[in-house]
Subunit: 386 residues, 2 copies
């Protein structure tokens, strides 16, 4: 097994098309990682996830340490075997989830003590224990344990939090056990403060990681501020390592971030939307509970090869959601992940051809357009059955 | 398209192995029909249903007429296209569901008026409208509209109800539009009264149907009384037409009923059990929420080729149910339907070989046995990942 590394195949402006080489196989970048919080991408079989072309999935340290427990997953052969995913898995460090527990957590310089959202029992995460848990889960990519403040916050609070995260990053690196094809990513913090982000990048590159994530964005600051932060932060990051923007985002967020030099993403949006009848398409989003879909024999999208679009009408999806049938979330989550993967493939192909600006113009115009008209996507001829 | 008919390939005692020929393809009998109440076998894609070897599925007139409506399904190309099932579909008539509405329904000689369980709106079913709805759904097999009394009931009440159902059967037959490869089944009623069952069989065969169902059983009378009713009723039924025992049952119910000459079954048990963590296996049922499965790296069953058993451990299934993840019901419903289909294939093969008694002895002994020991099914060797 060769070392964990990322190679750049082509650039187009700041955007990069590359290949991530790992112990669990290669991943073409830019890439979107479906979120498999507790060892399952909600409402999907892993065969369905594979069918969308997804190359890497995400697991959550916080959730998995509480249930079923890292030791148990290790005993059962690791997270890959447990969830039936032989490709790479990235695990977050638990820092973000613990932060969002609010009053249920208590921070000190050494780590965080918190109460489980499941049974209220007390647990503790430190850079060392988070790294150890991710090792037990057999994460292909381990994330540093960090502290992630909610925005907006005072610059001094963001600075103090960032510096704590940098000390924790050094301890996380110390605790990481190098293995061929496995990597660990540092997480750049510093809110939307340019100088703090720069200081954070410097601290992490001085330590040295296999990849670098941008944390603490997409926490309420808005797309404009997120993009401007990327504009000043990404150029400071190493060019020979993958860049991962955590917890982002909408299709437009992904496009804009790739154009600013980001390679990797994860977000619950497509899976969560799939459970609430919202479909992502080339023409923006559709709510399949809407009565206008009740008699529509057309697929969600004419461009999609997912099970929902190749076998079923919008009318059927509408019916499933109205009847609260499990198959509704199953089919629509599949569709949304298929859309996100298709979008990333389109973006990657455009980078390789030096056509990303043209693609971006076209994608944005389409997202802003109305749903396909009957002229653009005619009602299919339904042959008499039998 | 040839006519709808059933051919007998072999008998073993009263049991029959045969082939049902329909407009939507052939079905090997004995067969178990997964229940697709509102146009979906709950928590399964139709690809998953197909993978289990299921040959025919069931839809519910009552549910489909209320949502999405029979006209809508017809407009969209029929139930086969709507739910992505090109094989035969049998639809019940709505009689049983309406009966179970209790106070919400009002019976008269012409039909039943009832209130929707969804929105309380008033609807009416008659033999004519039920048959028409099933026609609009494009049911391969249409069921007669009947009245199904709850047991126990006074013999006079059962007799009156049965005679009403027989008059309704004649009207259902009158309303049925014959089409090549499509069939209609009469439903034998009469509770557990031998003479009433005989009178009902006579009434239905005088009318003449493509198949004959036995209704009004498995409604609380117990297996012994159900079997004794089959013992006296089935021999009176035509030998050249399929026999369908409605709403039955456990694996042991299916075996005993096949041995009494029944060819077709439907039941929500395997699908419902799959949503509540109960697994059917060769060794009886398992509750996967039980703590003893938490560290068990073995599959649910060593004999099963479903996705749950070929890719995942009991520990993973246990985890999914504990975490209330949708994938738990998805995988376990798949497993249970796979078990039911495997059971029917075993039974059919044994009939063809004249070995049904021997199989029955072996199956019953296994069902009564404890779960596989570690000697019988060792914990799998888990190779180090990567």
């Amino acid at each position: 097994m060769s070392r964990f590394h990322w190679t750049c195949e082509s650039t187009d402006g700041a955007a990069r098309a590359g290949m991530l080489h790992t112990s669990h196989g290669p991943v073409a970048t830019p890439t979107f990682m479906p979120v498999g919080t507790v060892g399952t991408v909600k409402a999907m079989t892993m065969d369905a996830v594979r069918s969308t072309g997804a190359g890497i999935v995400l697991g959550n340290t916080y959730h998995l340490m509480l249930r079923p427990g890292a030791e148990r997953v290790q005993q059962l052969g690791g997270l890959h075997k447990f969830m039936d995913w032989s490709g790479p898995i990235l695990t977050d460090s638990g820092g973000f989830q613990v932060m969002s527990l609010g009053a249920l957590r208590k921070l000190d310089q050494d780590g965080v003590t918190f109460k489980s959202h499941i049974d209220g029992s007390t647990h503790r995460l430190t850079p060392e224990s988070s790294t150890d848990i991710q090792h037990k889960l057999d994460a292909t990519i381990t994330m540093c344990f960090d502290e992630c403040p909610a925005l907006p916050a005072a610059p001094e609070a963001i600075a103090a939090s960032m510096r704590l995260s940098m000390r924790w990053a050094a301890r996380s690196r110390e605790a990481f056990i190098p293995r061929a094809g496995y990597g660990q990513f540092g997480i750049v913090q510093g809110g939307t403060e340019t100088d703090l982000r720069a200081e954070s990048v410097k601290a992490l590159t001085d330590i040295g990681f296999e990849g670098y994530a941008i944390g603490g964005l997409a926490v309420g600051e808005g797309q404009e501020l997120m993009f401007s932060t990327l504009d000043t932060t990404v150029p400071l990051m190493p060019t020979n390592a993958p860049r991962y923007l955590m917890g982002v985002g909408t299709p437009d967020d992904l496009l804009g971030s790739v154009m600013r030099g980001v390679d990797m993403f994860d977000c619950v949006m497509p899976t969560r939307a799939g459970r609430t009848a919202r479909a992502y398409t080339e023409r923006g989003t559709l709510n399949l509970r809407n009565a206008r879909h009740a008699n529509d024999a057309r697929p969600i999208s004419p461009h999609c090869d997912c099970l929902a679009c190749t076998r079923h009408s919008r009318a059927y999806l509408h019916h499933l959601f109205r009847a609260n049938e499990i198959l509704g979330p199953m089919l629509l989550t599949w569709h949304n992940i298929a859309y996100y993967q298709r979008l990333m493939r389109q973006i990657r192909a455009a980078i390789l051809e030096g056509q990303l600006e043209a693609l971006a113009t076209r994608l944005r115009a389409e997202w802003a357009a109305e749903d396909w008209t009957e002229d653009e996507m005619p009602q299919p001829h339904i042959p008499p059955v039998a």
